[in-house]
Symmetry: C2
């Protein structure tokens, strides 16, 4: 698998590339607040790059019907901003030093600023959504923020606890990742004036793409190159976070896996952490776990594609299918 | 001045006492989320006490017109929840150990949980507001969250910087405190179906009461008894936060005040911090600064009362005036 999914290099975004540029502009306009001290912070947070996959999803989902373009543009900016806000708080609570190879906000400006800037961006994104004037969309957006925060809380409560991590795995990755993918697609569709069956179809598409995305991310963490993923390999495990590949490791080698000893060493600050981490990663490499995770990803991709069965053929639908194919192709 | 304003002991809340009990119930229902790990956290956060002055303001402001009671109750619960969320993040970024004499969430459960729980409560409060179905109210609420966060950011950017702290003082205390008072009153009035002039009058009332409240708080910090205010005396100064009395001290004794030396000592970790703090507090005590701050509070109270001039006489109006009198009486 290629590290990461560089969706922008392929033609997936073609139908919305101009609109994505406008979304980018809306985000930069944010930097024009009258609080001068905020400018460099907002600038740094917003210009941090990223695949902009969530706004693309909103714009593509809105592309099935003629509609007031302003609405889907605002919504697209809001979902990206919400994503940026969650990254800032996630990095802060994880005490992460790097994001996309650049120092995190918490490292650059301290936790104090990072918490408050995250709050400010959460609220700004919600205010953007209010500009749509559609209460159903605004409500869905607020619920999504609840799901994102509770997903992170579930992650925290399940660290270093294999059986709980397994039991709550689907719920956790839905809340922390798939929820916003769902909402990005669903709200784009609602704002385009689509009939309810299309809204639900795009919501289902978003859910399945989101679940696939999270598992791609889980794999990257154990397989990626530190310089390419911009954080240390095995970072999840070192934080006590169990993901699909490491949960599979425990399930398949209940008596031989080194995860319990690794967690004990991390907790006690023992010197064999690196050794046990490497052993865990090697055991995963030497098993069928990675191909099996790929199979789970491909299943989600198939579900996502199937969700679009009843939607009319058009450029946005072709792009959404291409996005799924792109993820599927890289998952073998 | 009495330490704190114990509004519940007087008759101010009388017209809305039953409704406040319902608000309390709505907040407790929140603890019934399906995420079991969250229960003790939500319980601790919500049962932390507090004066419930913001929901009282919403309910009293809504009391001028017959209206669907459910709307103002939801709104009242939302403003209190938002307030609780901001306290959790404020305590986290300030690394505060005590709140109302009890250990803070960050001390009890760590910063990680405190940041995410705050996010969850912010989002929950916004979701509550969506239940009103009124976009103007939902939007005002989101803007308020932006103002609260940016007020805290301004506070951070002005720490240890007397001239900047002075210049941005009004803006800062509006954003961090008066904004939510404004919004509590304004949204209550909107949801009751009041005409626009009444909405604006109650908004103005909320603004002025909020500004007065913040200065009462500023004075408490330098005058209160540590056991009664639940945090150390002079805490603001120790954090580098300049409030009205300490700004006045610098302005009146530009060459003699010990604040610059105190800040240098705090920054350098010198041993004379306690001595310089005590000297600052003694200089304030020995000047007319406290009575002069009282005069500012009384001015805000007069403005708040004047805002109600054109509203019809009724129990809620009498309570709102009583609230102002109560603050004014204790500010001499």
């Amino acid at each position: 698998m290629q590290p990461g999914l560089d969706l922008q290099t392929v033609s997936i975004y073609a139908p919305v590339v101009d609109q994505l540029a406008q979304v980018e502009e809306q985000l930069y306009e944010l930097c024009q607040t009258d609080i001068a001290d905020l400018h460099p912070l907002l600038d740094y947070a917003i210009r941090s790059g990223g695949k902009r996959v969530r706004p693309a999803l909103t714009l593509l989902s809105a592309g099935f019907h003629e509609h007031e373009r302003k609405l889907s543009l605002i919504m697209a900016a809001a979902v990206e901003l919400l994503h940026l806000a969650t990254l800032i708080h996630d990095d802060t609570v994880d005490n992460a030093g790097l994001r996309r190879g650049k120092p995190t906000i918490n490292k650059m400006y301290g936790n104090h600023v990072a918490v408050l800037l995250g709050d400010y961006l959460f609220a700004t994104s919600a205010t953007f959504v209010c500009d749509t004037g559609v209460v159903r969309v605004i409500r869905r957006f607020s619920e999504t923020i609840m799901e994102l925060a509770s997903g992170q809380l579930i992650e925290f409560f399940t660290t270093f606890d294999p059986s709980k991590a397994r039991r709550l795995y689907d719920e956790r990755i839905y809340r922390k990742t798939a929820s916003l993918f769902c909402t990005s697609a669903e709200t784009g569709s609602i704002l385009s004036g689509a009939p309810e069956n299309q809204v639900q179809a795009l919501r289902r598409y978003g859910y399945n793409v989101g679940m696939a995305f999270q598992i791609v991310d889980d794999l990257l963490d154990i397989q990626g190159d530190a310089s390419e993923i911009g954080k240390p390999v095995g970072n999840d495990l070192l934080q006590g976070v169990l993901t699909l590949p490491t949960i599979m490791l425990i399930e398949r080698y209940p008596d031989d896996h080194p995860i319990d000893r690794l967690f004990a060493s991390i907790t006690n600050g023992d010197s064999d952490v690196d050794h046990l981490l490497q052993k865990s990663l090697d055991m995963i490499d030497g098993s069928s776990i990675v191909p099996d995770c790929f199979a789970v990803i491909r299943d989600y991709c198939s579900e996502a594609a199937a969700a679009l069965d009843d939607l009319p053929d058009c450029a946005p639908r072709r792009s959404l299918l291409e996005m799924v194919d792109y993820i599927r192709e890289r998952s073998r």
